[in-house]
Symmetry: C2
Subunit: 125 residues, 2 copies
């Protein structure tokens, strides 16, 4: 089945393959909750696939609408500068593709609250 909607989890990437594990879990869990969409994991650097390759494959498979979630805690140069440049290039390459970009996961109050709870519980009494 060709799915017309896709969610791309966009992460930084790292040299150590162990780094990707939580992002792979995130992809699997999100995919399980979104049976009618493709959920892809894509990286800015150091890991594959990169964003242009991921989008190319999704478009080839019939995808018409893509939502990109930056899986970053902080919004710095990668989210505020590198990602918009990549998006601009994708919009030129695929003018009919609908591309939306959400805020980084670290901007989510629920994610923040879960991190607070974890940090507070980490303090050994």
């Amino acid at each position: 089945m060709n799915k017309k909607k896709a969610l791309i989890l966009f992460a930084h990437g790292a040299r150590d393959p162990r780094w990707a594990q939580p992002f792979q879990k995130l992809q699997q869990l999100a995919q399980a909750q979104l049976p009618d969409a493709m959920v892809a994991l894509s990286f800015l650097e150091l890991m594959e696939p990169r964003l242009p390759e991921t989008v190319s494959q999704l478009v080839e498979s019939g995808c018409e609408q893509i939502t990109i979630v930056p899986v970053f805690l902080g919004q710095g140069g990668h989210v505020l500068r590198d990602l918009p440049l990549l998006i601009d290039e994708l919009r030129v390459a695929y003018p009919t593709l609908n591309i939306a970009v959400s805020q980084a996961v670290g901007e989510s109050p629920d994610v923040l609250n879960a991190m607070v709870a974890y940090c507070v519980a980490s303090l050994e009494y």
Copy 2:
């Protein structure tokens, strides 16, 4: 009042000061829930204060027990190699200081689930 216990939120750091905002919120919210401990934010690189400086200040203020939480989503070289080296140096410098290191926040199932919910909700229907 000198607090004997401290929680250090250890983050990567970035060139763009906006990057630090979620980490600063995390520090404030964790501190509010831990009135009997010091909650500090410290960085690996690019931002100040760095971990050795933070620990030095905490020890000078009377802190005897420190728990470090890596506020990283993935555990790669920074968490698995750079941080243990820093901890080794700190244990040599402060032999009576009790230092514990928790797993990265990205290893927390609750943090992961909150990210899943955020990503799923980001997909535009």
